[in-house]
Symmetry: C2
Subunit: 305 residues, 2 copies
Amino acid sequence: MAQLERTHLAIVRAVDQHGSLTAAAEQLHLTQSALSHAIRKLEDQLGVAIWTREGRRLRPTQAGAYLLAVANRLLPQLTQAEERLRQFAQGERGALRIGIECHPCHQWLLKVVSPYLAAWPDVDVDVRQEFQFGGIGALFAHEIDLLVTPDPLYAHGLRFEPVFDYEQVLVVGAGHRLRGLPYVQPEHLTEETLITYPVALDRLDIYTHFLLPAGIRPKRHKPIETTDILLQMVASGRGVAALPRWLVDEQAGTLDLGAVRLGAQGIAKQIFVGIREREADIDYLHAFVALARDHGGGMGASVNG
Amino acid sequence: MAQLERTHLAIVRAVDQHGSLTAAAEQLHLTQSALSHAIRKLEDQLGVAIWTREGRRLRPTQAGAYLLAVANRLLPQLTQAEERLRQFAQGERGALRIGIECHPCHQWLLKVVSPYLAAWPDVDVDVRQEFQFGGIGALFAHEIDLLVTPDPLYAHGLRFEPVFDYEQVLVVGAGHRLRGLPYVQPEHLTEETLITYPVALDRLDIYTHFLLPAGIRPKRHKPIETTDILLQMVASGRGVAALPRWLVDEQAGTLDLGAVRLGAQGIAKQIFVGIREREADIDYLHAFVALARDHGGGMGASVNG
DNA sequence: ATCTTGCATGAATATCATGCATGGTTGGAT
DNA sequence: ATCCAACCATGCATGATATTCATGCAAGAT
C-alpha cells in the first residue's frame, strides 16, 4: 500500500532546487537523514528508484523526473488551497449569495453592492430573486446567505436587522392634479391608472396598506417590469405609482416627478437584512450588514421627520 | 504551520461520498474517531470550519465545499502518479531514447522498433542521430538510453552486445560488368562512380577496409542522403555502392540489383547495442536488447557461411 | 595523502496519528 | 412521551512512524 505523500513531493522538489539532500533538508527544516529515510521508504514501497546515487551526486531516474514534474504541478495547488482556506477562515473570501424579495430592495441593493465589491474583492457576490420556498426558506436551506426583505421573520437561528427606513409615496408626473397636495386619500385614485411591478396584489403596499382597507380600486392597473420605464411612464402622465421617496428624489434632475404622501400618516417602510445567526461573525457577512446599515442611515427618511 | 495533507483530502471526499464520518471511516479503514481528530486538527490549524455540525449531520461550509473540490481534483492525480511510478518500477513504462550512429543501423532499427512498439505500448521510443560527443558520450551523459553502433567501446559502466551480423557488399545494377564476379578487387573500382551516404570517409567501411589500404580511389564519389534513392541510382547504372547484403536481398523483388563480395574475404560487420550497465535489468530495456538479438539472428549472414 | 562534502544506515527517540471508551445530541420509532 | 439508534466530539492511552543522532563509506577537492 504505497502512499505518495506531500512530504515526498516536497523533498523531490527541494532536492531538485538545491541540488543535494543536505541543502534540501535545510530548507525543509529537517535533517538530511530524515529525507534519506523518507525517500528510501517510498522507493521501497513503490519498488522504484527516484534517484541513482552516482558518487555523492543524485541523478533523477526517469521515475524521479516524472515525480518531480508531479511535485511541481501539485505542490503549488496545495499551498494555494491552504491560502484560500485561510482566507475563508478570516472571512476574506467567500461567496455571498444575496436574496431579495421586493423591487425597492433591488433598487437599494444596487447602491450598496458597488462599494462592497470594492472593499471585498475576494468575495463573490451573487444576487438571486426566485425562491421555491420564499426568502426565509432559501436562507434556511442555505440557498442564500443573506436576505434583503421588508418582511422579517424572527425565526430561530435567523437574525434580522433593519438597515433602511423609507417612505412609500405616490409618484405623479408633471402638472398632475394631485401634485402639491399635502397627502392623498384612497378616493383620489379612483380615476387614476396605477402602475406597479408585476407581482401579486398582496405584495404591494399601496394595496395592502392603503387601497384595500378603504375598499377602493384604481380605474386601471398596469404592470411594468422595470423601474426606468415605470418612471418614464409616470413622468409622461400615463399613470401614477407607489415607490420609495428616495427613488423619486434621485430622479429629480432627470425627470419631472412629484411625490405625494399616501394618507395622512404616510406609509412607512423598512428594509431588513437577515442572516443565519451562526454566521453572524463571518467578516464579509458582517461587513455587508454594517455597510448596508450605514448606507441606509444616510438615505432613510422618517415619515414623521 | 498548517499542512494540508493527503489524508485530509481523502477524508473530505469520503465524507462527501458516504454522507457521514462513520461511513467514511469504514471506507478508509479507520475509525470515526480518527477522522474526527484529523479534521479537527486541520480546522484548528487553518482556523476554518470544514463542516458545520447540524444535529447529527455534517454540512460543508463554503471552505469545506472548496476543499472538496480540491480533493476531487488532486486525489486522482496523486493515485495516477503512484500508478505511473509503479509502472516505471516494473519497467512497463519509460522513455527509451535510442541513438544510432550509422546508416545501416538505421535501416535495421526500423525493423526492430515496430514489433517493440507493439509489445511495449507504454514506452516512449525516441530515435536520435546527432550527438555532440559521439554516441558513447551521449550514453554516458544520459542523452540516450541505448546506442546502436558498429563500433562498441567497452568502457566502464557500459555494456555492449552484438545483435546483428552482416556482410558489407558491393551493390551493382542490372548488367553491370562486375556483376556475377565471385568478388571484386579495389582496382575494379577505379573507373566506377561510388555512391555513399554523406558522411566522413573514415566512417565508410568501403574506404577504411577496402579502398584506402590499397591506395585506390574511385573515379567519382557521389553522396546521397536516402537509401531509397541510392538504390534507385545503383539499379539504373549510375554508380555502385557498399551496403549490407540483407538490404540488397530485401530489394530483390523490386529492383534488379546484384551483390558482389568486397575482396576475397569480404567485409564482415557487426551491429552492437550498448546500454548503461546499471540499467541492464530494466524490463523495457532488456526486452529491446532481447528482441534485437532475436531479430538480428534471423537475418545475419556469416561471411564465411 | 588528507580533508571535505554528501548520502546511507541502524538504533534511539520523539512525535503524532489512531483507537478506545465515553458522553452528548438528535431524529425517528414505538 | 419515551426510548432507541445513529452520529459526532473528546480525553486519554498507546502504538506506529517520522525524525534525529551517531557513524560509516565513497568520491571529489586541495
